[in-house]
């Protein structure tokens, strides 16, 4: 307005950056450079303090030898890495079944008809029980309990049993995630679908679920990061996955560095997943802010 043009009237003259704007941007650049140097300095200070505190501790030489031995690391790493392949396999198979089981349970809980009452009750019972049992306990129960039943055709392979235990445990969590997603869809969306004469099933399939699933992707990925780690619990049943391999090496060499190797592999898998989850969550947040007109 200072140059005399009225607001809302576009003048033909192209925009030339004013002196004031140039000064303003220079000040903003100065401030951002300052923030970066302050952040760097404080990070360095914290890191140096932590390293000094740890290395100055009386037990550090001993810890360095048992947990950070390069020789033991090189020795164990190939076996641990091979074992980690089994973790990935367990995780990938379990993930598929967890999704199917979780979604099924969530959908069953939403059924209205009285015919389905027993199924609905079963679904509630399932989530209540399996969310309550510690996963490691479930691995023991399924891993040693099922073969002990000596049922015809029941699996006795520890990897399969481990996967079943993980699926039962995570299926209950994921069912709740799906259910919260379904509940989060505004009732007006159902009303609109029903007013178009879509049945309950069609409303779920075409209107509610597509929106609900999009909404729960970040919490689902979070549960999967957790499932990746818990694939190590199958170690208690004996299959040679990463943690078991590390145990074997540690027991043989009296050195714990193989555990560090296993830990690094798990981190290498979960960190990218965590960043991806953050990215999706941020995108969802942006969309929700932008899409204010939705019902």
């Amino acid at each position: 307005m200072t140059d005399g043009t009225r607001p809302g009237v576009s003048s033909a003259a192209p925009w030339v950056k004013s002196e004031r704007q140039i000064r303003r941007e220079a000040e903003l650049r100065r401030r951002s450079r300052r923030s970066i140097s302050v952040a760097t300095a404080s990070t360095l200070l914290v890191a140096v303090t932590v390293v000094m505190a740890v290395t100055a501790s009386p037990g550090w030489p001993r810890v360095r030898e048992t947990f950070f031995s390069p020789a033991a690391f090189v020795e164990a790493f190939p076996d641990v890495l091979r074992g980690f392949g089994l973790n990935i396999k367990i995780f990938l198979i379990a993930e598929v079944f967890v999704l199917v089981l979780g979604l099924t349970v969530a959908l069953v809980r939403g059924l209205r008809s009285p015919v389905f009452f027993p199924l609905r009750a079963l679904a509630v019972l399932y989530t209540d029980i399996f969310r309550g049992i510690p996963t490691i306990l479930l691995v023991y129960l399924v891993g040693f309990g099922v073969p002990a039943l000596q049922l015809q055709g029941a699996p006795d392979d520890p990897v399969t049993l481990g996967i079943i235990a993980l699926v039962l445990s995570y299926g209950a969590y994921v069912a709740e995630v799906f259910r919260s997603g379904i509940d989060s869809i505004h009732p007006s969306q159902r009303a609109a679908a029903r007013s178009l004469a879509l049945t309950h099933g069609q409303t779920m399939r075409h209107v509610v679920l597509p929106q609900a699933v999009r909404r729960v992707v970040p919490p689902l990925l979070n549960d999967f990061a957790s499932l990746q780690k818990d694939s190590a619990l199958v170690a208690v049943l004996g299959p040679l996955e990463a943690l078991r391999q590390a145990q074997i090496h540690a027991a043989w060499s009296f050195n714990y560095t193989p555990y560090l190797a296993a830990a690094l592999l798990f981190i290498a898998l979960t960190v990218p997943m965590a960043r991806f989850t953050d990215h999706l969550a941020a995108r969802t947040a942006r969309r929700q802010m932008g899409g204010g007109g939705r019902a």
Partner: protein, 245 residues
């Protein structure tokens, strides 16, 4: 014979009576406007007609058949009734075209190509042909509401219910939505509108009904209701919303 007959309909919420024995007949091609303050029961009445709410007493007949009978399949009734909501309620994960063709394809068994053809014709007729591939959140409120109306009429309903369809819109966008409703009247569509647009109600309605506290207090031609209301409550209401009478 009337297309829709509402007989002594009652509805209670949490011990409060929202509808208190409503009687209303709607003839084919008739346009009925429901006016009244917020909470007078206009929206509830429309939702009862569409069976989104169950009535607590009385009966509603469509084409001579009672639809409030518990043995009647609500989906069969809703196939013949279209409804448009105040908040549009478009499906945000579907394009405009998919929003419109969903019910024809999934409920009425129309072939996808045919459903799309009709949707495009309707979009063309109501000036939205270039928005077919857009998602609802890319449209203005007025455009969204016009799409919602097209979605409701794409299945060729016998009766169209419009629940305060302009209440969420800027004054500048109200006109475009009212235009489409006026056009529908010309095609002979039977409609019941709950509305706060008095000038529009006066212009488009064959019958105006004034609801007050769940009672259908007065009905008549727009001329009669807007110039010579008989009930004092009607007069008060109109004075309040119009600021004069």
């Amino acid at each position: 014979m009337s297309l829709l007959r509402i007989e002594g309909v009652w509805k209670h919420y949490h011990g409060q009576s929202v509808l208190r024995g409503i009687d209303l007949d709607v003839a084919p091609h008739e346009v009925v406007c429901l006016i009244g303050a917020s909470g007078s029961g206009k929206s509830t009445l429309l939702r009862c007609v569409n069976l989104l709410e169950t009535v607590d007493d009385g009966a509603i007949h469509l084409d001579g058949r009672e639809i409030t009978d518990p043995r009647v399949d609500p989906d069969e009734v809703r196939k013949r009734i279209g409804m448009v909501f105040q908040s549009y309620n478009l499906f945000p994960h579907m394009t405009v075209l998919d929003n419109i063709t969903l019910a024809p394809r999934k409920v009425h068994g129309t072939a996808p190509a045919e459903a799309e053809e009709r949707a495009r014709q309707l979009l063309e007729r109501f000036g939205l042909a270039d928005r077919a591939g857009e998602y609802p959140d890319r449209l203005s409120g007025g455009q969204q509401q016009r799409v919602a109306i097209i979605r409701a009429i794409a299945t060729r309903p016998r009766l169209l219910l419009l629940d305060e369809v302009t209440s969420a819109l800027d004054p500048a966008l109200v006109t475009e939505v009212l235009g489409i409703i006026r056009e529908l009247k010309e095609t002979g569509m039977t409609m019941i509108l709950a509305t706060h647009e008095m000038a529009f109600a006066r212009d488009i309605a064959d019958t105006v009904c004034f609801l007050d506290g769940g009672v259908l207090l007065e009905r008549g031609s727009p001329e009669q209701i807007f110039t010579a209301p008989e009930q004092p409550r009607t007069r008060d209401f109109l004075q309040q919303v119009l600021g004069r009478l």
